[in-house]
Symmetry: C2
Subunit: 398 residues, 2 copies
């Protein structure tokens, strides 16, 4: 992330400390569009869905959103019908203060599961939250979303659509969900482009495949994962309603921002000291490549070896062997960046082992695995598994 | 494990230090039966199979085994055709020294993947290994199998078959494979019962379902996992060739020994400070129960919470939600031993939370999850995920 100053036309941001988190840091944020925006969204596939996710899934059917209200410190998950009532109430308080329809307010929560939202604190915080809204207040909003994140994650990019300048701003929180999993990812994207909701949804789904879904294990999602994309059209270009050349320009912009956000999330992996791209080449097909990539990327033994800077390629072959992907062990090549440490399923010798040992000392590197089976390819980003990961997650609620 | 003295008629054991491990501990072991024994075996399902596993799978077709040769410190995996030649050579040396057919010798290896066996050291060790064979030498054999194990794991039990006393002795090594996975499990069982190989195999498979397979994730196996069961018939009862009352008596004995061995392996989980039984009740069927049990048992976030003694039940519900098992979140009850911390998908309140917090401080406890969907049930043993786990696995090869 770089220092920058920007505006997304018509969008205002704020973030305050409402006392939801114990440490007194910002924990309550608001994103507001001066006019209702077209909205697209992705929600967790976990069967256990937090109340705000259930509400968001309902409200997104309307195709419009004017405000996102977000809190950290409490996930409002596993809170039953009371949790749903609470989520609705918070959104109605915000709507009232903003003088908008409450169905245009999307609530979002992250934090500890199983406790009721501190309703009084939230009610008391809303006037301040609304009063502090400003076009440059995005850093406060990002801070209010953070849980175990060690740095705020935000990205901005611009493009031209029909001779108008368009800005897209994305923010993300999350740090533990990468592999291992389950911590919440929230990502909010706002733009002054003019794109109709169905097209926006189509773009978001396509882009997520290449960004957010490359850093998470399918199905191993938290109760609260949410991505929302708002487009209020205030840049003034004629509306886009189907995929054409302009649509592709915007989708490219969206992909760039989402990829950067996803990567920054990996870089902030809980306790991570390294970030590593696992690239599978030469699989029978893409599905096999994906299976193989995930098996390596989530193996605790591979990840602890990365942490220990031990180029223990045996664990990589072992993970491939139980991945379910079709492999012939004696065809597999493994590279650490350019160093081919495994040739045809066997160690390539001390010279290469030495080179790989240099690579693994770096903070960031690639592990390229060529299965020599076919043309399937897939890459996934992951981190090492450090002692700090255990420390952070053992003491999360205390 | 308790101190004990026993003999299995006709079986001799030894274990020495041949210099395969760097630390000078025992690393080369031998189990020998005075007459060829009927043999049953289970081998890793990993596509990447170590040379000794490939050889064992070939030789077991003969139905007979007279010697098991085992080394730690080197897995002889990912060593190509050279590894196969090496495994065969070691077994032929042993066979020669014992004056038996080399096809009756089953080699077994555990340790680092991708290095050739130190053939010279092994050749030089064999005379001593054979000379030291004795009926009471089993502790030396067990020690020679150990890698990251912190204590030797052995179990003995007896029963009567057709008025003859029969003894069964089992040993196991392994400590990291439980969840997370991939470390090697080796288990050797020897008995003086007289049971024909096909029946022996059938018994072993059935018993493994209820013991070894309850502590490992299906498919996430190492390159070397091996279970061998030898029956030399020297107790002198008439042979058993099909399942009858006597067969059931022996199978019960086998189950008891295998369960105890599997449990001791969990108790020695790498860096584990707690061992926990995850019991799923009320699932739609057994498969769903199994899915749910494994999802909870292998969730790093659940396991780090156990380590931190944090009764963070939200993470348990979250793991259930992405397990693939059919659930209704608002029906789920969760107990920590007797303390029902979750009632109908929600926290049961501070009183129960307090009780659960007491339970989680224990070294061993049950987590019972009732899905209230049907009658499916499954239980699995697991450990917490501690900082020591990371430490052990980050520095394994150094």
């Amino acid at each position: 992330m770089k220092p920058f100053d920007f505006k997304v036309l018509g969008f205002l941001f704020s973030g305050i400390s409402a006392g939801i988190k114990k440490d007194g840091k910002r924990d309550f944020g608001l994103i507001y569009s001066e006019i209702p925006a077209q909205v697209a969204g992705l929600f967790t596939t976990n069967t256990v869905k937090a109340a705000p996710v259930q509400l968001g899934r309902e409200r997104i059917r309307g195709g419009l959103c004017q405000a996102i209200i977000v809190n950290s410190g409490n996930a409002n998950a596993c809170t039953g019908s009371q949790g749903m009532k609470d989520a609705k109430r918070v959104s109605s308080w915000v709507a009232k203060r903003l003088r908008i329809d409450e169905r245009l307010v999307f609530p979002s929560s992250t934090g500890v599961i199983g406790s009721r939202l501190p309703m009084k604190k939230m009610e008391e915080g809303i006037p301040q939250l609304v009063d502090q809204l400003s076009p440059g207040g995005w850093m406060n909003t990002v801070e209010a979303m953070m849980t175990t994140d060690t740095f705020p994650k935000i990205e901005v990019a611009t493009c031209r659509l029909k001779e108008k300048s368009v800005t897209l701003c994305g923010m993300i929180k999350g740090s533990g969900m990468i592999h291992p999993n389950l911590a919440t990812m929230l990502s909010f994207l706002v733009t002054d482009a003019c794109i109709e909701a169905p097209l926006l949804q189509q773009m978001l789904e396509r882009v997520a495949e290449e960004s957010y879904h490359r850093i998470t294990i399918d199905g191993e999602t938290s109760t609260n994962d949410t991505v929302l994309l708002l487009a209020n059209g205030m840049s003034g270009h004629p509306p886009l309603s189907r995929m054409n050349r302009d649509g592709k320009v915007f989708r490219t912009l969206l992909l760039k921002v989402c990829k950067t956000l996803a990567e920054s999330l990996v870089r902030d992996g809980e306790g991570a000291t390294k970030y590593i791209e696992i690239l599978i080449r030469g699989a029978c097909n893409k599905e096999d490549a994906q299976r193989a990539a995930y098996a390596v990327a989530r193996s605790p033994l591979v990840k602890t070896a990365f942490f220990g800077e031990d180029a223990n390629w045996g664990r990589i072959l072992c993970a491939l062997g139980h991945s379910g992907a079709r492999i012939h062990p004696d065809r597999i090549d493994v590279y650490f960046d350019q160093a081919r440490i495994v040739k045809k399923g066997m160690g390539a010798g001390p010279r290469w082992e030495e080179k790989a040992s240099e690579v693994i000392k770096k903070k960031s590197f690639q592990v390229i695995i060529d299965l020599h089976q076919g043309k399937g390819q897939f890459s996934v980003l992951t981190t090492d598994l450090s002692m700090d990961y255990v420390k952070i997650n053992a003491s999360y609620r205390s």
